[in-house]
Amino acid sequence: MGDYSIWVLDYAAVKTFPQSVMLYGPQYHGVRNLPYAYVLIKGRGEVMLVDTGYDHQQYGKYLADLYGVSNWHSPADVLGECGVTPEDITHVFITHAHFDHMGGLDLFPNATFYIQKRELDKWIWALTLGPEFRFLVGAADPADIMKATRLARDGRMVVVDGDREDVIPGIDLHLAADTHTYGSMYVTVRNDGARDSADSWIFAGDLIYTYDNLTGLDTNDPYLVPIGLAVGSQSNLLFASAEMLKAVGGDHRRVVPVHEDRLKDTFPSRATANGLHVVELTLATGEPSRVG
């Protein structure tokens, strides 16, 4: 048993997401279910999230009607499945500035948030380029920037410049520059606390959408395949993937893509009454299972 308990918690889904966005290449190979999820990390007196989800109050119906995002549930409902409230959250690591990962900044009133400096800098820079470059900024929400500004004013926004070890004991932040976004970040939990850990988990944000990005589609001849949506380069995505795999000793299941529908079949899990899933990656000493 390690220092931290870790769960991946669905909060919404797109039922028909094109495979070609999740995995570069297969253009006419249909669709997959794409869960929206965040990661709950609990232990050593801290309750942490990787990403925030988005604020359904503002955009839920719009997203549901136009893009098929369905079954959104609030952090109170989703975290409640693990006996946690939004007020309990102490730290949130934002992997990148897309609305489904950062749009819930004001849903966790006691948390301190961490984001890469490069993500903020380049996001703001891209917004000065004019509407013909709007692909580069994704779904930039003025409300998100305003929320981030309020947090910065209140001293609750920590801007990380590159890699940072032990931001919380055993938790490291890594910059994966010019990949899915300009300043994407992945989070490593060294659950035995050792520097050269034999019990590491990595939360990859959208550097990978599926395990297939780490293994390819040919199980007899595994290879790295980038996602199909990047403002940076495919090379950078591949090198980031290789780095993440190396850090977990090659066990691809420990590089966790929150949009992977098969997480619930890979780890112990249960469906909730709301039709979402609680996926239990590991439990710290004394922590009861939430899927048993």
Partner: protein, 151 residues
């Protein structure tokens, strides 16, 4: 929801104004955010402020020629109020007397409120363009037949 013709015309003409104001708000908020988190705030680039000023100048021209048919008066008034708040925000960003950015932030919050009212007053003026979002990747070709090659 379908709109009568004059209101539809107004919506088409008002959309670029809305987009310019939205951009200016993001740019100014981004500038303020960078200033707040910078080790040396005095060295922050004013490029976003200049870009916002340029967008606001363009928006002001469009606003002057924008009609005001029945049913759009309320919407137009919020667009104008947002533009005015953003102009004040630019002035605050460039002012030597607002070193902590409190005036800038106050004007940005005012502009944000006005933009929310804009988005509620008529359909099609949401604050976020989700057209480039990850979840929208499967919705970018609404009429695939229009792309068929005739040769």
């Amino acid at each position: 929801m379908s709109l009568p013709d004059p209101l539809l015309r107004y919506s088409v003409d008002a959309k670029p104004v809305h987009d310019l104001l939205r951009r200016a708000l993001i740019q100014l908020a981004g500038f303020q955010l960078k200033r707040l988190v910078a080790d040396r705030p005095g060295l922050c680039s004013y490029e976003p402020v200049e870009a916002a000023r340029s967008a606001l100048s363009e928006a002001a021209e469009c606003l002057r020629s924008l009609g005001s048919p029945s049913g759009a008066v309320h919407h137009r008034s919020h667009l104008q109020a947002a533009a005015a708040a953003l102009q004040r925000a630019v002035a605050a960003a460039l002012s030597r007397h607002d070193r902590d950015g409190s005036d800038l932030f106050r004007h940005l919050e005012d502009a944000e409120r006005q933009m929310r009212s804009v988005s509620r007053a008529l359909p099609g003026f949401g604050p976020v363009d989700f057209g480039q979002a990850c979840c929208a990747a499967h919705m970018r070709l609404p009429d695939a037949s229009a792309l068929q090659c005739s040769g």
